[in-house]
């Protein structure tokens, strides 16, 4: 009897003790990567933008599938060929109480060239000629030439108060003195590679976030991040490794959230007159570059069994890719059907091209940039060996891979590319357009691919302000690039979040950002 009373007493006490915890509204997230600085104009790094979005707002925001929506600007439209007008949200206070106005926008954009680092934010202002303040809530951005993608560039353009002051650098931001934004959370503390602690900002224009306090812990090691979730140290983790995904999916105590990412693994065949690493038949170097022959590239494409890549190699964490962007992105062509797998046809094409017995080729990939890059690399090599090729596959650390890829040292390479802005110009301008430093196109075109027809259609798109006309042009460009096998897309990678079951819910984003204010606690 006494014992039972005691037990009840303890239970009640435990409940009382637990009750405030349940309502403390603290959210702890374990993340693979965090920011490099609290200065929002320091770097274009994705994990940086993701973290700082909690403290600062951008003019233009992007929804779950990266299509544009209002942020601090309520509307925007081109008023002539080289001017965009942004109407700003009224009555938005910064964390220190000063009101947000057009001056802050001008200040923030002008500040970038002075403070940005090696991952240079001038990327987002490359079209900006000047910023003109019309009144407190209207800004005109004058552009260098026609710039239809300017609002997309502004999705990572964070606004700081114009009182920030010259010479305010990373030290002042990291200590919190200058970390003042209009975002849904106020900055509390941060250390490089450490925890970012945030506190709810009650006066945010989107309304109050459900969490009073948010701690974003940086846990780069996959196993450590999983252990932190399993031991209850964090409520939610991102980038669940593929090896843990299945066991977590089947675990009733854990809930997983899956989403397509913007990242696609692309095979990049060099089509230069002379391939960088020799291609051999029977040990003899071949004359010319076999990859210049469209039939050879098509054969390589047809020999890829994308279903196997997704279901077996990636354990279900992927989607077959048929072009360089996921469905729904601006410029995605519905005309292109799913890629087919036809090894017989591939062998025929290869024979027609004059290589009935295949050839020996080097194939180089990254092994640590995105989940699954190394395993897909090996699987592709096997698929091509079924075609009759001898493939010397090599998966390298990105630190080694990227500088060599930049020097165009690979005959055939594979790495992941993400269409981070949600529209085609970002990807096509960098990777598919002919290399043309004058125009600023083709910086990541490492294959030597150059098709005047594609260039013409694409460039016309970049000069078209009307959104629908531009979309049609980009879709046409998608078809040209894919029929040419300029690059061979293989799979869209998926990412996984995991949380303790029945504690919280959210809609994952295709850009993989984990935004605390859209995460809802599940009612008890």
């Amino acid at each position: 009897m006494l014992r039972n009373t005691l037990k009840t007493g303890i239970a009640v006490a435990a409940l009382l003790a637990a009750a405030p915890a349940a309502f403390s509204q603290e959210l702890t997230i374990g993340l693979r990567a965090g920011p490099d600085s609290i200065d929002p104009h320091w770097s274009t790094l994705g994990s940086q933008a993701e973290a700082l979005r909690h403290i600062y707002d951008t003019l233009v925001d992007a929804d779950d599938t990266l299509q544009l929506e209002p942020g601090l600007a309520v509307s925007w439209e081109p008023i002539d060929d080289t001017t965009w007008e942004f109407k700003l949200r009224e009555g938005v206070p910064f964390h220190d109480g000063t009101p947000f106005t057009a001056e802050d926008v001008k200040y923030s954009i002008d500040r970038i060239p002075d403070v940005t680092g090696p991952m240079s934010m001038t990327l987002y202002t490359k079209y900006v000629e000047s910023v003109e303040v019309i009144d407190d809530y209207t800004v005109h951005v004058h552009t260098k030439g026609i710039a239809p993608a300017l609002p997309n560039d502004f999705t990572r353009m964070f606004i700081v108060p114009s009182e920030t002051g010259e010479g305010t650098g990373n030290e002042e931001f990291n200590s919190g003195d200058a970390a003042i934004g209009t975002g849904p959370y106020k900055f509390v503390s941060w250390q490089p590679k450490g925890d970012l602690v945030l506190e709810r900002y009650e006066d945010h224009w989107r309304g109050e976030s459900p969490w009073e306090r948010v701690v974003r812990k940086e846990i780069p090691d996959d196993a450590a991040r999983v252990a932190a979730l399993r031991s209850g140290q964090v409520d939610l983790i991102n980038y669940v490794p593929a090896t843990d995904y299945l066991s977590m999916k089947n675990d009733p105590e854990i809930e997983t959230f899956t989403s397509d990412s913007v990242y696609i693994l692309n095979v990049q065949p060099s089509v230069k007159d002379e391939e960088p690493q020799p291609i051999r038949v029977n040990g003899e170097e071949v004359d010319g570059n076999p990859l210049q022959d469209l039939r050879v590239r098509t054969a390589l494409d047809l020999a890829i069994n994308r279903e196997v890549l997704v279901d077996v190699v990636l354990e279900g964490l992927g989607t077959p890719a048929n072009q360089l962007m996921p469905e729904g992105f601006f410029g995605y062509s519905d005309e292109l059907g799913a890629k087919e797998y036809d090894i017989e046809r591939a062998r025929e094409l290869l024979a027609e091209a004059g290589y009935p017995d295949g050839f020996e080729i080097d194939f180089t990939c990254t092994n640590n940039r995105v989940p699954g890059d190394a395993v897909v690399c090996e699987a592709l090599a096997q698929m091509w060996s079924r075609l009759g090729l001898t493939v010397n596959a090599q998966a390298l650390n990105g630190t080694v891979f990227f500088p060599a890829a930049a020097n165009e040292e690979y005959t055939m390479a594979m790495s992941a590319w993400g269409t981070l802005t949600g529209e085609a110009a970002y990807t096509y301008g960098a990777m598919v357009h002919s290399k043309d430093p004058e125009k600023g196109f083709g910086n990541f075109n490492r294959t030597g691919y150059s098709n005047p027809e594609f260039d013409e259609v694409f460039v016309e798109g970049t000069q078209t302000l009307d959104a629908e006309e531009r979309r049609a042009l980009y879709e046409e460009a998608s078809v040209i690039a894919m029929e040419d096998r300029a690059l061979i897309p293989t799979v869209i990678l998926q990412t996984v979040w995991a949380a303790e079951a029945e504690t919280l819910t959210f809609t994952p984003r295709v850009d993989q950002e984990t935004r605390a204010w859209v995460i809802e606690p599940t009612a008890e």
Partner: protein, 324 residues
């Protein structure tokens, strides 16, 4: 003694110089950090400008000279990733590694040396055999795997200890350290144990080997014949005689643990310098890599120096400077 210190100091300077050249050339050979860091959509013109801004277009010797010139003014550079001073960055994370390593070394010594003495004193006993078997496990099983087992057992299944991270900080002798709070200890104990296992195994085996050998020497036999109790023989005479190799290994291990505790730091998400250096290597953050590796060289020089002094204290036959 004074001559010894001077010659050691000169040696150290030469070593640090040589090391800085090796590191610089090695880091230079890996590639251009801008190609790793730059945003994929950046234009070629932006890339050129950044390369010039960081002086990466200069020939290697000129980059090295300007690095030396800055070091001479006490400026080791700024991190390309964090844009904060490299020294500040390294020293903000050094305390975490220091406390982890100190606890690990303490565990290894307190358990390892007595266990080794016992195993050498009664080599045929069951206990000795058990200790030796465990010591093999200690240095043959990979650290990260044991670390994950520890996490599975004590953090996930039993829930006694946190799975990672550094705990609350308290102040001890004016230094912020997690060793001053109970919560801090609960965080440090598991990674420290994990880190200590290899060293413990090593110390056990070294101590045992020395012990077995020493117990058969004449001075032990004479001491026994004199009727000295075994306790006194072991602790006063034998321990002192076998401590030279133990101290050598202890010093080297201390250095390498401080510099490269990276596996344990990653598995337990410990915010130490090991993780910092690995991240810097992955992003080719040159100033951090160069500074850190040079600091490690200095650290080893200091430890070796200390070990030599300790030798002389332990064994009067050792003469510093090697002049006689």
């Amino acid at each position: 003694m004074f001559g010894f210190i001077i010659s050691r100091l000169l040696q150290a300077i030469v070593v640090v110089f040589a090391m800085s050249i090796i590191v610089f050339v090695g880091v230079y050979a890996i590639g251009n950090p801008i190609d790793v860091m730059i945003d994929p959509a950046a234009t070629a013109e932006m890339r050129e400008r950044l390369i010039a801004q960081y002086g990466l277009d200069q020939p290697l010797w000129r980059q090295y000279l300007s690095f030396l010139a800055n070091v001479a003014q006490g400026d080791l550079g700024r991190s390309m990733v964090y844009n904060t001073s490299v020294t500040g960055l390294v020293f903000s994370r050094l305390p975490a590694t220091l406390e982890l390593v100190l606890v690990a070394i303490a565990i290894a010594t307190v358990i390892g040396i007595p266990a080794g003495l016992y195993a050498g004193y009664r080599p045929k006993s069951l206990g000795a055999k058990a200790i030796m078997a465990l010591s093999i496990l200690g240095f043959s099983v990979p650290t990260f795997w044991i670390g994950m087992l520890l996490i599975m057992a004590f953090a996930v299944e039993l829930g006694w200890l946190p799975s990672g991270g550094r705990g609350d900080l308290g102040t001890f002798l004016g230094m912020p350290t997690s060793l001053a709070t109970a919560n801090g200890w609960s965080h440090v104990i598991m990674p420290a144990l994990n880190l200590s296992l290899f060293k413990m195994g090593l110390l056990i085996r070294l101590t045992r080997a020395g012990m077995v050998e020493a117990m058969q020497t004449d001075y032990v036999k004479f001491a026994r014949a004199q009727g000295l109790p075994d306790r006194q023989i072991v602790f006063r005479h034998v321990l002192r005689n076998i401590s030279i190799p133990v101290v050598t290994v202890f010093g080297l291990e201390l250095g390498s643990t401080l510099a490269f505790a990276v596996v344990t730091e990653s598995v337990f998400n410990w915010p130490g310098v090991g993780k910092l250096i690995i991240d810097s290597i992955l992003t080719l953050d040159r100033p951090v890599m160069v500074t850190y590796l040079i600091l490690v060289v200095i650290l080893f020089v200091i430890i070796n120096f200390t070990v030599d002094i300790v030798y002389a204290r332990l064994d009067p036959r050792v003469r510093l400077g090697g002049t006689k």
